[in-house]
Symmetry: C2
Subunit: 202 residues, 2 copies
Amino acid sequence: MANDTKERILAAALEMFSQNGYAGTNIRELSASLGLVKSGVYKHYESKEAIWNALLDEMIAYYEEHFGSPEHLPSVPDSLEGLIQMTMQMVDFTVHDKRIIMTRKVLTLEQFRDVRARELATKHFLTGLTDMFTQVFLGMMDKGLLRREDPKMLAFAYTAPISALIHLCDREPEKANEAIAQIETFSRHFIKTYGGTDVIPE
Amino acid sequence: MANDTKERILAAALEMFSQNGYAGTNIRELSASLGLVKSGVYKHYESKEAIWNALLDEMIAYYEEHFGSPEHLPSVPDSLEGLIQMTMQMVDFTVHDKRIIMTRKVLTLEQFRDVRARELATKHFLTGLTDMFTQVFLGMMDKGLLRREDPKMLAFAYTAPISALIHLCDREPEKANEAIAQIETFSRHFIKTYGGTDVIPE
DNA sequence: CATTATAGTGAACGAAAGGTCACCTGTCAA
DNA sequence: TTGACAGGTGACCTTTCGTTCACTATAATG
């Protein structure tokens, strides 16, 4: 089927672009990894750049689909321990899921070259996480689980360090376990600092 | 002089590598930016990879020289406001200094390809900042300016969000002013949270 | 002054890049 | 049965890449 190969090309492109970057990837190798000869891929995409654009389309669509709308917000935890659990679950997933790792890498490598990659990178690495946890923290404040402070600031202070350690995992995968442990330590420090008192807020 | 051109080649390489990456840079353009013809650079470096390695040598040496030894630690501020001032001074420098911007970009682009770039990236983006502010915060705790908590944790919680916003400046320079303002806001939030009890901010 | 290293030129080379094209082959609808 | 077509092949094209080399102008050195 046409669509099958077309999708397989994008998958291979994600793999190669995330490892060698756009400029460092050549069509011959890409095709070979699919058991094709290079002219074969031109039946499906008219150029290397077309592959890149299609891949970006897919990445953007994937992001919108999974993190774009408010309905995909995680449920507000019922306890501080619940926040830790939720966090560690998300971290564990995002650090080990091959596709998401490759997406981050590709965005990292192409952020200075392509406007859309740049925008998606900022969402992935910064604003997306902050926005999401702003909602979560708002909910937790309503439940009296967190001190009432600017939720956006708290979300930023919470997610940015975690994001930094996720980047470390991408860069030095052999440190992943250590980094994950550090994320949990940080997370516990965070709830110790900002966790709500048992007193009902006025 | 030989050394002059040799240095100019490295400067041009930093510029091009930071914009287009190693694979996306070609010797012809690089030489042209120096008013040379491409064979000219081979009088000074035997290959493109040799240029890359020399540039990395230089970046590593620069880092050691400027941030490597304890003698380059910033002096411990005498007040919480002093921490803000110190922070904003460093941020302002690192966000606007062309060479440091290019260094960060190059490390970002090549961190998955070159082991030394990877290690330097981790220092630049994570451990270097954390280590430095661990010392600063230790000193501030001794002065009663900060609550006595794990200084390493505090340093990490302080520098990681700042680092994230510095990356944002590299990625989207038009947002630099906004990002810098956000850093100051975050910094003020931080001292409000962790500031010592005996010194009351404003 | 003669010589010699230095820094740069321009032509050329082979390899590899992205891309095109004529051709083949199996599938499937008319 | 036939014919259009989707999907794949291999040869080939052009351009660009990194690199080499014979050569030259210049400046320092014996």
